[in-house]
Amino acid sequence: MIDKIRKEAKRILEEGIVSVVIGFEKGSIPLKSTPVFIDDPKETEKLIWDKFCENNIATYIRRFKGTKVGIVANGCCSRAIVTLIVEAQFKREDVYIIGVPCEGMYDRRMMLRDSKTEKNADEKYLYTNCKYCAHRNPVIYDFIARDKIQEKTSQFPDIEQMQELPLEERWKHFNDEVSKCIRCYACREACPMCYCEVCFVDVNNPKWLEGIAQESDVAFWNLGRAFHLAGRCVDCGACERACPMEIKILNLTRKLNKDVKELYDFEAGVDIKGKPALGEFRFDDKEEFIR
């Protein structure tokens, strides 16, 4: 499979179809692959695909406005691309997608804690969102590096479990998690969907929240960001993987994804012609919140 990815990347660079290919290369620390930008066809040998390509590299596409970009994309990366196209951030013809059906990424920090290596890790180390992923195949692509794999239906057992807890416990869990926040905004910067020219936390007139990492502000930040992603989040997990404090951000975004699925039967980034869930009105919307 990796040979096919490299060969296609080389071809599209050589033929001038794209000016750069975004993919992954081997990282400098154990169990980490790192984003790479290749503009020289000779360097496509650097490209790799393994269990540690955990970033969503669709986040970089907007930097290359005006040029055509090639990208090695798995399911969630392709969903991010679709969402960005639907939100008019670039055009379909601006990206050449080398699709990779993906069986999920491994949680490197959990592996390191258990002293596991690439060789002896197993499915237990799959990230939660990978375990319950319903779009393992790229939803759009120009080239596909291997045969498509079987899809599962979307599931949220982790969220259902959380919902069953009493309110106080959930509130405590939420506060324990967000109290770790240092407001470094790695979640925001890692997220392909967080592309606001000025994020609401950076606006100082009106001032939505203060710059200090006290309880109410970190709660507001984490909730505010999650709500801004309602109906837009593609559940790639890039935010949680980027968080240096290991805050369980996906509990918030996956809950919202579950709600959006149940309320509007909508999943972000699946239909390139569809409108965003919160950007459309239909007469058959349930509107149960208006009573």
């Binding site: 692959s33 984003p35 240092i182 407001r183 890692a190 240096p244």
Partner: protein, 321 residues
Amino acid sequence: MKKIKKEKFYSKLNDLIGEYRVYAPKGDRIGEIRNSTDIEVQTLLTRLSAKSVFLPQNEELFRWDKDKKIKIKTSEKKTILFGIRPCDASAIAALDPTFDTKEFPDTYYKSRRTNTIIISVGCNEPEETCFCSSFNSGPFDDSHSDVLLMENSTEFIGVGKEEILDLFGFEEGDGKKEFEKIKDSAEKKVQEISLSGIKEKLDSVKDTSFFKDISNKCINCGACTFLCPTCYCFDIEDLNRVDGGKRVRNWDSCMFKIYTCETSGNNPRKEEELRMRQRIMHKFNYYPLLYDVFGCVGCGRCVLYCPVNFDIRSAIKKLGD
């Protein structure tokens, strides 16, 4: 060399809690402890460095009430900072020339600094990402600690200020051989990267293409700078309410786009590569130029926790090419 049984050391430390405020590794940070059993001395590097003891992420400078009467928080309690690593101790020393200047000493920083005893613990098992040896330092560098300890299964072997060793009841022992042996083996595990002429090399970089090249995958979050033990940039904010308010100093990061954004909307460091340039130049050029010390101690936190694996070691090496 002087030695002490670990139980004896911890029991003395417990006795000192109350008279001293004691900070030690606790979970992902250096936190205040109420009992020595809270200490997680096994943690090689706490995720958040020891800088927060001297420069908290959010610090109240003063407050005012509704009659605009100002109250300043001063007087710091005597503090023991225990269990930090030599790199974090070096990092604190690297903050001194910024905050403890002759002309404008930062009273908040300075009072904490002068009231704090630093007892660091050397690293028997350094990480792959450690590169402290590159800065004339190492896993058992005692130069910036009041006392440096070496841990074995039952004892601490200590070097440093006699009065502190005596305070804890260290006794004369034959630890020298063991100390040297563990020190040697630890030093071999630390990667050393060449920094010779780095200041000049950075001076010779005339355009931003080098920084553009190294920063292309950087997503411009502040994780590296917030976890960095020497990054000290801050922002001052007034939190005003009808019944009073306070002025706070918060950590800030040169990697943030709004860091240099001016009121007019103009931003001299709008591009990612310019912010990366600032970070690298500040650590390896401006800082040594001003204070003869690097703004990096080689703790490796930025390498370990970067979401996209930007590796400052590779950037330095690339500069050498």
